[in-house]
């Protein structure tokens, strides 16, 4: 028998993942949403704060939403202090997460390149790199020849439509295996005694004055001491039930994957002008994200012309991808806020905490927001890292405008 | 008329167009005086003032003495003339529609026309135009503002056989569209039909 293909398979999952308990009638904390953020929050509630009388309510299957659909890029090279603060905290946690969770999450710090194609891209990139350095985030500006050294398959010739003028590079950035991450958090939470309850959709809330006393679900009413909303694209569905207005819009975001290929692409490449972001995952498949569909949508699917444009960009930037094959496309629902930054913290209900608006940044923030939201819920006090992301900023005008900053999304 | 040299954006493509086969003929229609007419309600008084009927059916065009009147929107038309200068046309049309609350703007150089004729023209257009160009659906008198490749165009059907069209494209996109059309026509220029 010939040897197995190196790297073409993944580490085994453990023999035990989580219990499938019946919901109790009451919990100290109910987390609505069993995605990455909800599960991470549960883990850190138990680990950092010793709070374990907690239920995570998931309307479908655990981590079946954006956690199962994203392109797993992890980086912290955001422009504004507030953003790089939370994302860098997350990145530091990512670096120790395999040990913390005792789970092979395949966190691979292969670096992320954000390509610049226009003079303005270059200005924005240098601005971001310099800000990152001053914030203690590893970042450098690379000239085209240095880009070629790191990722030889990028088309750095000067005669393409939008030549690569350089790139920002964050060496500590990378990718991880999304299911492994989610299941690692889930297993730890379950081991700690936290109930992970699937097929349990929240259909309403019971309130007394400005307190929420519990949630109504498809598996019965559950009393709650505190409630954390971690429903990403479905946040508005919940806040509408509570009569809280939240300035997020849910949009389809598509991604796609190729067949398994011999290693050609050693890092992660993102480009705004030629819209594409791509990495080669652990088994060898190319994983790419497409652009956000323009309209509001809860359908977990987008339009195919977005994918076609994505493929044109991919082949333009990576000519050798021409005969790679699109194997599967899918869509998630991203909740986008007006300034492309998250909304985290208190709500008009004194025991309800909000966590949404992560747009395309949700996965990379997972451990960071889990940590900070757990702190916020446990101490009824926003963690300093999420304090700038209040709902209130849209009234005062103190936005954290990541589009203005032209930081590459995703 | 001016003695100043006139040029159009597709001068450099002339010879490439000449090499095309009869099944896909492309000829440039430059230097056509054209105004963009805006007018709220269109009644009989328009003909009296303007001398032509502006088509009120969406996505249609009609011949207008020495030019064409093309529907662009419920209150917007392109009106062209091959006999007047741009200034003359704008002045005349503006004077005519002003009393009716309308406006007129010279857009003669804003777009350039390409005449596409031949049996394969539909096949070439189908490579980048998402609307149904079947002659039963898009016969003479039909027009559409849509995308061709990645260029916005106004497409006019000049025959009921689907073999004669005019494409109006923004001047700055003309070179792109010309390259796009030549590329789309390549398989018909060098190989027999499949």
């Amino acid at each position: 028998m010939s040897p197995r293909t190196p790297g073409a398979d993944l580490p085994e999952h453990p023999d035990a993942l989580w219990r499938n308990p019946e919901p109790k009638r009451s919990y100290d904390v109910v987390i609505v949403g069993g995605g990455g953020h909800g599960l991470a929050t549960a883990h850190y509630l138990a680990k950092n704060h010793g709070i374990t009388n907690v239920a995570v309510l998931e309307k479908g299957w655990l981590a079946g939403g954006n956690m199962a659909r994203n392109t797993t890029i992890i980086r912290s090279n955001y422009l504004w202090d507030e953003s790089s603060g939370i994302y860098e905290h997350a990145l530091k946690l990512w670096e120790g997460l395999e040990e913390d969770l005792g789970y092979p999450i395949l966190f691979s710090q292969r670096g992320v390149l954000n390509l610049a194609h226009t003079l303005q891209d270059v200005r924005d990139s240098v601005r971001r790199v310099e800000a990152n350095k001053l914030n203690g985030v590893d970042a450098e500006w690379l000239e085209p020849d240095e880009v070629r050294k790191i990722c030889p398959v990028v088309n750095t010739s000067t005669d393409i439509r939008y030549p690569v003028l350089g790139a920002t590079y964050q060496p500590r950035a990378g990718i991880a295996k999304h299911d492994y991450v989610a299941w690692g958090f889930a297993r730890r939470a379950s081991e700690a005694g936290i109930d992970l309850i699937q097929d349990c959709e929240v259909t309403g809330f019971t309130t007394e004055g400005d307190r929420v006393t519990g949630v109504r679900t498809t598996r019965g009413d559950i009393a709650a001491g505190r409630v954390a909303l971690c429903a990403a694209g479905h946040t508005s569905v919940l806040t509408d039930m509570l009569g809280i207005r939240v300035p997020v819009q849910s949009h389809p975001l598509q991604a796609l994957v190729s067949e398994l290929l011999e290693p050609v692409h050693p890092t992660v490449v993102m480009s705004n002008a030629v819209h594409v972001y791509v990495s080669q995952a652990h088994k060898g498949e190319l994983v790419m994200g497409a652009g956000v569909d323009s309209y509001n949508g809860y359908g977990q699917r987008g339009a195919f012309h977005i994918i076609e444009r994505q493929m044109a960009a991919a082949v333009e930037l990576f000519p050798v991808f021409a005969r790679a094959h699109l194997l599967r496309t899918w869509g998630g629902i991203v909740d986008v806020s007006p300034d492309a930054s998250p909304i985290v913290g208190r709500t008009p209900y004194e025991n309800v905490y909000l966590n949404c608006g992560w747009g395309t940044g949700g996965f990379k923030a997972t451990p960071g927001i889990g940590w900070a939201l757990a702190h916020t819920v446990a101490n009824d006090e926003p963690h300093p890292l999420v304090a700038p992301f209040t709902l209130d900023r849209f009234v005062t005008g103190a936005l954290v405008d990541e589009h203005g900053a032209a930081a590459v999304a995703h | 008329m001016a003695e100043l040299l006139r040029t159009h954006p597709l001068e450099a493509w002339t010879s490439a167009f000449e090499r095309l086969p009869d099944t896909v003929r492309i000829t440039v229609e430059p230097f056509v005086a054209t105004v963009d007419v805006r007018l709220g309600a269109v009644g009989p008084e328009v003909r009296t003032h303007l001398g032509v009927d502006l088509p009120t059916a969406p996505n249609t065009w009609v011949p207008a003495d020495a030019g064409r009147a093309v529907w662009l929107g419920p209150d917007e038309w392109l009106l062209s003339s091959t006999t007047e200068t741009p200034e003359e046309l704008e002045a005349r049309v503006r004077a005519a529609v002003l009393p009716l609350g309308g406006s007129a703007t010279d857009v003669s150089a804003q777009r350039i026309g390409l005449r596409l004729t031949g049996a394969r023209v539909r096949d070439v257009l189908a490579k980048g135009c998402s609307i149904d160009l079947h002659p039963r659906v898009f016969g003479r008198g039909s027009s559409a503002q849509t995308s061709l490749g990645q260029a916005g165009v106004v497409l006019l059907a000049l025959s009921d056989a689907g073999d004669d069209h005019v494409v109006l494209v923004r001047s700055s996109f003309a070179g792109y569209l010309a390259d796009w059309l030549l590329d789309a026509a390549l398989e018909f220029t060098t190989t027999p039909d499949r």
Binding site: M1, R4, A8, L17, W18, N20, W61, D81, Q120, V122, R123, V126, R127, V129, E130, N135, R161, E259, L260, L261, V274, G284, F304, M311, A312, A314, V315, E316, V320, F321, A322, R323, A324, H325, L327, R328, G397, D401, G404 | A2, L4, R6, T7, P9, A12, D36, G101, S103, T105, D106, Q110, K127, C129, H134, V137, G149, A151, S172, Y176, D183
Partner: protein, 956 residues
């Protein structure tokens, strides 16, 4: 290499022609009509690859896209990763090898062409098998616009694999008649080698046509290799057939193990015997055809292992007549052999209990566990699936708008039924479209089938090997077994989606075509729940893999994105301009003279504009003609400053903000008449601002009597800039009095040049005396040449965007999008003067009153002068407080802002910059630090206007 397994006659191959190909370094031969798989089998080669994780030998297990075994890499004529031997059509010179796991991409670009075509029909029929052909005929006869697409190289579908008769003639004769008839209908598009891979909303289907792959190196270069058909159908009929389902047993992955139906395909379509000695293992009637056909073809059929207690009587009799042993109530529990099956282990089987097994010698083991309708497209269209207990398969459930399913894709498994179903579905479709069926639309006849005996639903044979399912392969491509599913369930997983992710079943090249339903069945079995509750994982497009380049189509290279150019582009190119991408525009950045780099060229261009005269092609500026009695009202509402007070003949600079109060664009406004303005926008803002105006007029202020029309390409704009500009313009337009008195700053005049209307405007984006010349692009080249001639005595110098930026930056004029980033207000730019106090409201005004906008620490636009008079600060550099010890403290270091524009100034004889700095105006005169490559550069904060602050030069 010889082809001992090729039948002496028969099949759809051209035996007169021999093709040479290479596989795993060995030479083989085949014929046109072969696939790589059939040609390998003809040579007796079953093993194609070794498996990805376990390195076990894997062979050809099916005859088309559902094959989980035969993964190959094509090397010649051009490398293409991961294809199926069963779907690669053979051509001369093919070089390929088996693929253990990962495909290999070419290291050179693919020169093949790809394209896309839009096509509109009344009825799209997917699949040219019996049901699809009948449906297409019915629709075509009714005069409907029809597209019939089929993934195979020729029409016929399942008929290509059998010996059926239709209308009393061999089925394939009927097929060729049907194809000929379709060709006679002018409104029918019939495409073979075309796979419908995705179905989307409103009858939109995507199909990939493989146009030249089968021609190998002989493919014509000017024809696209593959084409994406963008089919828009009023109604879709999917007649996509069914995939045969295996039964899982120990060592079921050993080469020589093959689906029974595939064996028939190889025999009848390709004239290839899958082996010499066969064992057939079945749970249903269909596999008997394979047994009997192979027997007739000379294969020794050792036994038909029938999992049901009784074999269907007529089948049993046929086998007895043929001398084929039928073993009812028996199963195959495993196989023996190394790289090829040598024995099937056969054991009695009743009530789920397996007896002791005995080895039956064979070199091919044919398996049939029933049929899974190919419901992929139906499911993509969000059709609900229903589990059919009888078939042990998921079939289309409730109807989907505009899409219906016909034939075996709908679970109809006999020929006569498929023909009738095709016609029925087509007629229903036509009537829904109000198209009358043709009178002569006859239903083709096929022999009535013997009533089938109910199949046994058997997902897997209990494992008697002691390996507890560890060699019972469910997904061969992922090396995933029954044991893996058991572990997943044991780990607490209940959702089929979790099981898929835990085991990776269904994630490989075949996307679970054979393994998906098995996994649902086995998971349900292990959880002790009904299969209907387990359900399936989602079917996602594409149905089969599609090359990236095929989807990129022609949007590659120069056609990737349109290049917008001005009327002068050819002149710029001839003048040796270096271009800059500004949005989609190509703009000259500078015009180097021999031996000049950018810095030298820009210093020269700047000096010319400051001391003599320069000229710029400013034609990319957005231009909007705003007409109507309420034109001034509209502009007052959209600009921060007052426009209505502007006099006819005059020009005013204006700023526009979004509702959030942040600057979105700026430019000048020319009042052409009481009711008419020419609005100039930034190059990048042109389309956005026209849309912005239209949006407000149409959605908020429909009562305003105003119309906005883009005239960006109606005018070219040539700023003639510098102290000598008056001489140049005066010389070319003698009838214009260009004196300050007659033609003051911020006014415009109309004139003409040889009868061509020309507009002149005293607008300056440089601080110098300047005249903007507007003329129709028809005369752009001529007027530009005339200006150059008129300017020659003064050394007129064409300059590009870089010099334009230096000149405007020296004057502190911001570029929206460079010196602003969507978080900057007019006040931040020091343009409070451009914000009307008179107007009760304008878009953005209310936002200025918000708390954050009142903060004195807001970032403000200021100038920076590096103290060393040498360093050109990189644009984007961050700014920090002055650090006395010249050392950066450890992070985080508070930032004051960033450098937005930075240049070397010929005028100032030193570098300078513009920057957004917190409380910047308060800091004027202070020194701050800018980290540049690890060193701290001290810079002085200044006002933003560094050249001619008093504005003395603009009048010359």
């Amino acid at each position: 290499m010889s082809t001992p397994f090729r039948t002496p006659a028969g099949g759809r191959i051209d035996r007169a022609t021999t093709l040479q190909f290479t596989f795993d370094g060995l030479g083989f031969t085949g014929h046109p009509g072969d696939t790589l798989a059939s040609a390998l089998l003809a040579a007796g080669r079953h093993q194609v690859a070794t498996s990805i994780k376990l390195g076990r030998p894997r062979g050809i297990a099916a005859a088309w896209a559902e094959d989980p075994g035969g993964l190959v890499q094509v090397e010649e004529p051009f490398p293409e990763p991961m294809l199926l031997a069963s779907t690669v059509e053979l051509f001369d010179g093919l070089v390929a090898h088996g693929l253990p796991g990962q495909g290999r991409l070419a290291d050179v670009p693919d020169s093949a062409r790809y394209d896309a075509v839009h096509h509109h029909v009344d009825v799209l029929v997917v699949g040219a098998g019996p049901a699809g052909l009948t449906a297409a005929l019915t629709a075509a006869r009714a005069g409907a616009r029809v597209a019939l697409v089929d993934e195979q190289s020729e029409a016929g579908g399942s008929l290509l694999s059998g010996t059926d008769r239709i209308d009393g003639v061999p089925a394939l004769e009927w097929v060729s008649n049907a194809v000929a008839e379709l060709a006679r209908h002018p409104e029918v598009l019939h495409l073979q080698r075309t796979t419908a891979f995705g179905v989307y909303d409103d009858g939109f289907a995507l199909a990939l046509e493989r146009r030249t792959d089968h021609l190998g190196a002989a493919a014509p270069k000017e024809v696209s290799r593959q084409r994406v058909w963008r089919l828009r159908a009023r109604s879709i009929v999917t007649a996509t057939g069914a995939h045969e389902r295996p039964v899982v047993f120990a060592d079921n992955d050993r080469p020589g193990t093959m689906l029974a139906g595939a064996a028939r395909t190889f025999l009848h379509r390709y004239g290839v015997l899958p082996g010499r000695e066969a064992v057939v293992f079945t749970t249903n009637d269909s596999a008997y055809d394979a047994a009997l056909d192979l027997h007739r073809a000379g294969v020794r059929v050792q036994a038909v292992v029938e999992a049901r207690p009784e074999a269907p009587p007529h089948r049993r009799e046929e086998c007895e007549r043929a001398g084929i042993r039928v073993l009812p109530g028996a199963v195959v529990t495993g196989t023996q052999g190394v790289e090829r099956v040598t024995h099937a282990l056969v054991a009695p089987f009743s009530d789920g209990q397996v007896g002791t097994s005995s080895a039956v010698a064979c070199d091919v083991l044919l398996v049939s566990g029933g049929w899974n309708p190919a419901v992929h497209l139906f499911s993509q269209a969000r059709g609900r699936l229903r589990y059919d207990e009888g078939l042990g398969a998921f079939v289309p459930g409730e109807e989907v708008d505009g899409l219906s399913v016909a034939g075996s894709a709908a679970g109809v498994l006999d020929l006569a039924g498929c023909l009738a179903d095709g016609q029925r579905v087509a007629r229903e479709t036509l009537s829904a479209l109000a198209i009358d069926p043709a009178a002569d639309d006859r239903l083709p006849s096929a022999p009535e089938p013997v009533a089938p005996t109910a199949p046994l639903v058997l997902w897997r044979v209990p494992d008697t090997s002691g390996a507890e399912g560890a060699t019972q392969f469910v997904d061969l491509q992922r090396d995933a077994t029954v044991a893996d599913i058991a572990r997943a369930v044991g780990a607490g997983l209940r959702s089929i989606e979790h099981v898929k992710r835990y085991t990776t079943i269904g994630t490989a090249h075949d996307q679970g075509k054979t393994s998906g339903v098995l996994t649902s069945g086995i998971t349900a079995e292990l959880l002790g729940v009904p299969v209907r509750d387990t359900g399936t994982t989602t079917f996602r497009p594409p149905y089969t893999p599609v090359a990236f380049a095929a989807l990129a189509g022609r949007d590659r290279g120069s056609l990737f994105d349109p290049e917008r150019v001005t009327a002068l582009h050819q002149w710029h190119v001839a003048a040796g301009a270096v271009f800059e991408d500004v949005g989609q525009w190509k703009r000259p950045r500078y015009y180097p003279e021999p031996g000049e780099d950018m810095e030298a060229a820009v210093l020269r261009e700047c000096a010319a504009a400051r001391t003599g005269v320069g000229i710029l092609d400013g034609s990319t500026l957005g231009k909007i003609d705003v007409q109507g009695p309420d034109a001034a009202v509209l502009l007052d509402r959209l600009y921060t400053n007052l426009i209505s007070s502007l006099k006819v003949g005059s020009v005013r600079y204006g700023v526009m903000c979004g509702v959030d109060g942040m600057v979105i664009d700026d430019g000048t406004v020319l009042r052409l008449a009481e009711d008419r303005f020419l609005v100039l926008t930034t190059t990048g803002g042109a389309a956005k601002i026209l849309d912005w105006m239209e949006e407000w007029v149409q959605t908020e202020w429909p009562d305003l009597r105003v119309h906005c029309t883009s005239v960006t390409e109606q005018w070219v704009t040539f700023p003639v800039v510098g102290p000598r500009s008056r001489d140049v313009v005066g010389a070319l337009f003698p009838d214009v009095n260009v004196s300050n008195e007659a033609f003051p700053f911020m006014t415009w005049r109309d004139t003409s040049l040889e009868g061509v209307p020309v507009r002149l405007a005293r607008i300056s984006f440089s601080g110098e005396l300047a005249f903007e010349v507007y003329v129709s692009p028809w005369y752009a080249v001529a007027v530009w040449q005339r200006l150059l001639e008129a300017g020659r005595p003064y050394g007129i110098t064409p300059y590009g965007t870089e010099t334009m930026h230096v000149l405007r930056a020296e004057k502190g004029y911001p570029i929206i999008g460079q010196d602003t980033d969507g978080t900057v207000t007019p006040h931040d730019l020091g343009m409070a003067w451009a914000v009307s106090k008179k107007k009760p409201d304008f878009v953005g005004k209310r936002s200025f009153a918000r708390q954050a906008n009142q903060d004195p620490r807001r970032k403000q636009l200021v100038g920076l002068l590096p103290v060393d008079r040498q360093t050109v600060l990189p644009e984007g550099s961050q700014i920090v407080e002055f650090l006395a010890d010249g050392e950066l403290p450890p992070p985080p270091v508070p930032m004051l802002g960033h450098v937005t524009s930075s240049y070397r100034s010929a005028e100032l004889a030193r570098p300078f910059a513009l920057a957004l700095v917190k409380g910047g105006r308060e800091r004027i005169g202070d020194t701050v630090h800018v980290p540049v490559n690890g060193t701290l550069v001290p810079v002085e904060v200044t006002g933003s206007v560094l050249v001619d602050p008093e504005g003395a030069r603009r009048d010359g």
